[in-house]
């Protein structure tokens, strides 16, 4: 499992951790039941405070991506991936709806919006 933390982006560290782990789970790199490194060993490996990793793990647990049991560690949860996917799609739709409305009312051409979307999408890779 590879997690890369950058101090240059404006994205908070715990978010970088959660989004990378989520991406690995959604992309199938991590299967349900696979173990995740303990908070402390991950903290040590990526040179981040355990407090931050703790926050990331709590978020992941709350969103149903991982389960942490005392004594056994953290594992990818058998959660409803599709439900979460749907939720995220709905969120994206809302934002896109907003962008489309703004574009329409202020005369920004559709192609420009598509170009921007492409730019933003690729930026995070």
């Amino acid at each position: 499992m590879e997690i890369i933390i950058s101090s240059n982006t404006s994205k908070p560290i715990y978010e970088q951790i959660t989004s990378q782990i989520k991406a690995m789970i959604m992309g199938g790199e991590l299967q349900t039941g696979d173990p995740i490194p303990s908070m402390r060993s991950l903290a040590k490996s990526i040179h981040v405070s355990v407090i931050t990793v703790q926050k990331a793990y709590e978020d992941l647990q709350r969103d149903g991506f991982i389960e942490t049991t005392v004594g056994r560690g953290s594992f990818v949860s058998a959660q409803n991936k599709d439900f979460y996917q749907e939720e995220q799609q709905r969120r994206a739709e809302e934002h896109l709806q907003e962008a489309a409305d703004i574009g329409r009312t202020s005369g920004i051409p559709l192609e420009k919006l598509i170009e921007l979307l492409r730019l933003f999408y690729q930026e995070e890779d």
Partner: protein, 287 residues
């Protein structure tokens, strides 16, 4: 299970020309707390008071759940201490030191000690006075890790060591807190070391605690705005923690660089190192 490995509350100690005034901070279990401050700021005095080497004028110290007079030899068995400079009689060898300490610590683990010596490539039968500075420090750390300590207290343990040795030692610290019952208090001038391993940073200046903050907050959220006089006036004074006028620019410390960048998109805002934060507090003006 105890929540805090160490609680310092209202610590006061008065000397003729220096006073430790109302120092308070905690070390939650499983955490590494870095203590920073200038020379003479009160770091060693604080540590000495915690360890009972000096009598405090006021305040309470709780170690591993036991308070002040309750701190007994049972607790001391679980505290590993490393001081800067010399710790042991220099005519002893590592092996002789083992013979001494196994009759003092009831939790002394001889096997662990010798395996640590081997891991650190320390000679077992050479006199300590013939050790290099780095070797002496590694030996002190080996000792501190060989009696099942739950709390490590290190006073300037890494000063004077080369980066390679320091990296090894920092790694040992991180290994130590893999067990969340173990905690570390480390005071150091080498703030880059603390940036690597600390979970919290406590900044002591002129005998007072200036701040006690999570390291990641300082490292990833704090920022320094660099600007000219005109821009300086435009900055919302509420957001300024400290500022300093340099020859050609102003430096302003803010707590949230992302928010600041959004607010002042044209401004140059850099991440702040702990050193820079310290300098701004000490040499700069507070808001």
């Amino acid at each position: 299970m105890k929540e805090n490995a160490l609680v310092v509350k209202g610590l006061k100690k008065k000397y003729r020309d220096f006073t430790l005034d109302d120092v308070s901070f905690n070390i939650p279990c499983g955490m590494i707390v870095g203590l920073i401050g200038e020379n003479g700021a009160g770091k060693s005095t604080t540590i000495n008071a915690i360890l009972g080497l000096i009598k405090k004028d006021a305040g309470t110290i709780s170690i591993l759940g036991k308070k002040d007079n309750e701190i007994d030899n049972g607790i001391r068995n679980q505290i590993g201490v490393v001081f800067d400079g010399s710790n042991f009689p220099s005519v002893l060898s590592a092996r002789k030191l083992n013979n001494v300490l196994k009759n003092i610590y009831s939790t002394w683990d001889e096997n662990r000690y010798f395996s640590l010596l081997q891991k650190m490539s320390l000679p077992t039968d050479k006199k300590i006075k013939e050790f290099s500075k780095g070797m002496k420090m590694k030996l002190s750390i080996a000792v501190a890790l060989s009696h099942h300590s739950k709390l490590l207290i290190l006073d300037e343990a890494t000063s004077g060591l080369d980066p390679v040795v320091r990296d090894d030692i920092l790694d040992m610290f991180l290994d130590f807190v893999q067990d969340e019952n173990n905690s570390i208090l480390v005071s150091s001038h080498i703030t880059s070391d603390l940036e690597k391993v600390a979970d919290y940073i406590v900044f002591i200046h002129k005998g007072k605690v200036v701040f006690s903050k999570p390291k990641d907050e300082l490292k990833y959220q704090y920022g320094i705005i660099k600007c000219g006089a005109a821009q300086f006036d435009a900055i919302d004074k509420e957001e300024i923690i400290a500022y300093r006028k340099q020859d050609y620019e102003w430096e302003v410390l803010v707590a949230d660089r992302t928010a600041a960048q959004k607010k002042y998109p044209k401004a140059v805002i850099d991440p702040a190192t702990i050193d820079e934060i310290m300098l701004l507090y000490v040499k700069g003006e507070m808001k």
